[in-house]
């Protein structure tokens, strides 16, 4: 906490106070703090509920797509090309006559799967390499540190494009792994920084004095504290994976043509722009944005609940 600097005038206002006065003042400060905290909690709770509802709705649309969709997403309705939203096609059709609503519902399955697997892969790699580079002995630690630096010196998208170009056969799992393996760098750096800070704590020194193993130190001392600090990571990784899938599909390096995803639908927007088919651009964009926003809100509200006071983040 920063020291309070007072000038002479202010110092003249100071006077000794009794224990009772001090108790009253502390009670006031506490009440104010609690009220402020409650207000933040309430706001967080509201946004959490809204985010949960929207995300649940999107997941429901994707999971129950065969029950909800009125059209086959792979079918080309050749007499309904570039049709604007209406009664038959709720969100309109693309230039080949495919129902956009069905494309989004079925495409969401792949995208959410890629987002989840990609996020898991990214978090696992980031945490393992980040913690490892801080904890492990000299040479392993230095090696991991250099690895992080080398990987981070090239933009993630470039790594993804390079790896994707070398892998001819791509499905959801492959794409998720490519994305996951190319997006752990920032998380590893944060995990390393946080671990290094915690390593200086007295409980870690105590654990070291008892010759605790590295894994015991991680399980008992580091993990509970890291979780509260890095709990935004899954959301960030999920969003990054979702976005990366869209970008790769847009560039033609995503899923095969017959497999649907939000990225594949977004890739139609280039041509849609030329034909003034705004619905092909707007609706996939909105659903991608809402999904990412809900994930961010959920993790932000979770973070408020588990906020650790002594975090450097």
């Amino acid at each position: 906490m920063a020291a309070l600097k007072l000038d002479k005038n202010e110092l003249s206002l100071l006077r000794p106070c009794s224990e009772e006065e001090l108790r009253q003042l502390n009670a006031e400060i506490h009440t104010h703090s609690v009220l402020k905290h409650l207000s933040v909690r309430q706001q967080a709770g509201l946004s959490q509920k809204l985010a949960l509802f929207l995300l649940g709705l999107i997941i429901l649309l994707c999971v129950a797509a065969p029950l909800i969709c009125t059209h086959d997403p792979t079918k080309f309705y050749l007499s309904h090309l570039n049709e604007s939203p209406g009664q038959e096609f709720w969100l309109g059709t693309d230039s080949l006559g495919r129902d956009l609503f069905s494309l989004l519902c079925y495409g969401g399955r792949s995208s959410l799967l890629i987002g989840t697997i990609g996020a898991l892969c990214s978090c696992a790699l980031g945490l393992i390499i980040g913690i490892g580079s801080a904890l492990f002995p000299r040479y392993v630690g230095v090696f991991l540190q250099r690895l992080i630096e080398i990987c981070q010196s090239v933009p993630s998208l470039l790594w993804m494009l390079t790896i994707a170009a070398f892998i001819p056969r791509r499905d959801e799992l492959t794409l998720a792994l490519i994305i996951g393996c190319c997006s752990w760098f920032s998380l590893a750096r944060l995990a390393r920084a946080e671990t290094l800070q915690l390593q200086g704590a007295s409980f870690m020194e105590a654990a070291a004095s008892f010759n605790s193993s590295v894994f015991l130190k991680i399980r008992l001392h580091l993990w509970p504290r890291l979780v509260s600090v890095l709990n935004f990571a899954p959301a960030a990784a999920f969003n990054q994976a979702l976005l990366a899938e869209a970008v790769l599909s847009f560039l033609g390096l995503g899923l095969p043509l017959e497999q649907l995803s939000w990225g594949c639908v977004l890739s139609l927007s280039g041509r849609a722009l030329q034909h003034n088919a705004w619905w092909v651009i707007v609706f996939p964009g909105i659903i991608l944005l809402v999904t990412m926003l809900t994930m961010t809100l959920l993790c932000a509200s979770w973070r408020i609940e588990h906020k650790r006071r002594c975090s450097n983040l």
């Binding site: 206002l13 100071l14 006077r15 106070c17 792979t74 080309f76 230039s95 006559g97 041509r271 030329q274």
Partner: protein, 550 residues
């Protein structure tokens, strides 16, 4: 002991402004100085002296009268390597050329004779023809080009099979070339339109790897100036010393934009003046007053071409022809081509050798398809895909990712075939790879001048037969068609070829596309009576007649 402030005084204490550090002060002074200087300089700014109007130079006028064409991607500008593109036709000239009706007329030669008994052509070359570098054009250049094309084993042109009947090419004097044939060839005059290469620049060069292919020197209407690879622009300037009519358009900038959508965007943004677009992209320009759509007919056929070297088709070749029943080609024309094209049922439709349509034997009919499949022993599996001898009727098809129209055709065909019980897996590729094991490709092919143009593509072992197709009956008929000089007998031979081919096709003909060119207003002279070739190439055939007024 703790200290607190008096409650009533707490609010009266004014926040003390934080003292600016020395560094902040320096920054503040620097910022004020800069602002002040700017203000002072703006106050005392002198009125600019009147800029004298610079007269428009001839070079600038030329630049303004230049045409920017959004064309296809180009790797090499060599007529012996690039047999389909526009650029070789602008830079190089052939012994002969096609006029607007497709008839063969002299170009670099002033006249030519053919002795049918001796099987000998004699070409009398024009006087006063120069290469773009100023060297005189002679018969030695013609001899060099045809020696390379026909006899050089280190260089195999994709067009070599068109020149198999040339036995010998000699120069009797600097202005006369004699070409001896080993057999009569009805289609050969059309093939003699291929561009002639300069001997003095290439006699010691490896033709496939020569820098000449990126900085060509020809005798044609335009001469190569510059190739900016980073910007994808090839600059051409008119050949003022051209032996024929010199074009009025002084510059042509050829943008190497293979991507169909990009070509459309270049036009819309004013970065290009002319482009060949796919039907869907061209449709938008039909409603725009500042653009003009010029619709050509083409012989450009889109097909699902099988690779017969893959084991799948070696086992299931008998099942290719029935696939014609399962594809609604009229729907393809109406949807993907927006009605700008025709349903394809034969590779020779533009030549009308079979006007009665008697070989149009595959109407769209799923009933007929299922009957044909049943007769061939295919049975539908649990997933709705036909199975025979434990093998599903499933094959892969490669299509170039930057060709949106072909991708759309492939996707819709895959959907139609799936409804019929056949799985066609569409794979996007940056360029065709005929060694990667794909079972098929969405192929484009055109024979705009003569049915014999299918000779090199379909006859066993020929130079452009990339699919490995081999059918003895087709081989025989195409050889007969090449040898026969009587047009009526020749037409009958090609009718027989169409029938033989339709029973054992190398590819499934889908649609003939229209050549939808879009230009800015003010470009005149494009003649839409011409039948264009592959990728609607050949539009520049009469470029010397074009004018451009912006």
């Amino acid at each position: 002991m703790a200290f607190i402030m008096h409650k009533d005084k707490v609010n009266s204490v004014k926040p003390v402004p934080r003292c600016a550090s020395g560094f902040d002060l320096i920054k503040l002074v620097a910022l004020c100085s800069c602002t002040g200087l700017l203000f002072v300089s703006s106050c005392f700014r002198q009125e600019p002296a009147e800029i004298p109007s610079v007269p428009v130079t001839a070079a600038q006028e030329d630049l303004n009268s230049g045409l920017v064409f959004a064309g296809e991607g180009v790797l090499s500008i060599n007529p012996l390597i690039n047999v389909h593109d526009e650029l070789p036709g602008l830079i190089f000239s052939g012994l002969l050329k096609h006029d607007l009706s497709g008839k063969v007329v002299p170009d670099l030669c002033s006249s030519f004779d053919y002795d049918p008994n001796a099987l000998r052509y004699t070409f009398h070359l024009k006087d006063g023809v120069y290469w773009h570098d100023g060297t005189p054009f002679t018969a030695a250049d013609v001899v060099f080009t045809y020696q390379k094309l026909c006899f050089d084993q280190s260089f195999i042109s994709p067009a070599r099979s068109n020149y198999l009947d040339i036995k010998n090419v000699t120069a009797t004097d600097p202005q006369t070339v004699v070409m001896e044939l080993s057999a009569p060839n009805a289609a050969l005059p059309g093939y003699l339109c291929i561009g002639i290469l300069p001997e003095h620049l290439l006699k010691d060069e490896e033709l496939m790897t020569s820098f000449f292919n990126q900085q060509p020197v020809g005798t044609g209407r335009y001469q190569f100036k510059e190739w900016d690879r980073a910007a994808g622009r090839i600059e051409l300037v008119v050949n003022a010393a051209y032996y024929g009519k010199v074009p009025a358009i002084k510059h042509i900038t050829y943008c190497t934009t293979a991507d169909e959508s990009n070509k459309s965007l270049l036009l819309r943004s004013g970065k290009a003046d002319l482009a060949w677009l796919n039907a869907e992209d061209a449709a938008w320009f039909r409603t725009q007053a500042e653009f003009e759509n010029i619709d050509f007919k083409t012989a450009d056929l889109r097909t699902i071409s099988m690779d017969f070297r893959t084991p799948f088709w070696q086992r299931n070749r008998d099942s290719i022809a029935p696939l014609n029943y399962a594809i609604d080609k009229d729907a393809l024309v109406q949807s993907v081509l927006s009605g700008r094209g025709i349903r394809a049922w034969s590779p020779l439709q533009p030549h009308k050798v079979n006007a009665s349509h008697e070989i149009d034997i595959y109407p769209f009919s799923l009933d007929k398809f299922h009957a044909a499949m049943a007769s061939l022993g295919w049975v539908k599996g649990a997933d709705g895909i036909y199975v025979r001898n434990g093998e599903r009727f499933s094959f892969s098809l490669q299509v170039r990712e930057y060709e949106a129209e072909r991708v759309a055709l492939a996707q819709i065909c895959a959907s139609m075939l799936k409804d019929a019980g056949v799985e066609m897996r569409v794979q996007l590729v940056p360029h065709f790879d005929f060694t990667a094991g794909y079972n098929a490709c969405l192929y484009g092919i055109a024979a705009q001048y003569d049915p014999d143009q299918y000779y090199s593509v379909l006859v066993s072992g020929m130079s452009d037969n990339v699919s490995g197709y081999s059918n003895p009956e087709v081989d025989t008929l195409l050889k007969q068609g090449r040898r026969e000089l009587d047009p009526i007998k020749r037409a009958r031979i090609y009718q027989d070829f169409e029938l033989a081919f339709s029973h054992d096709p190398a590819f499934i003909p889908l649609v003939y596309i229209d050549g939808n060119y879009v230009s800015i207003n003010g470009l005149y002279g494009l003649d839409d009576r011409m039948l264009l070739g592959h990728h609607a190439a050949g539009v520049f055939r009469n470029v010397e007649e074009w004018t451009l007024s912006r």
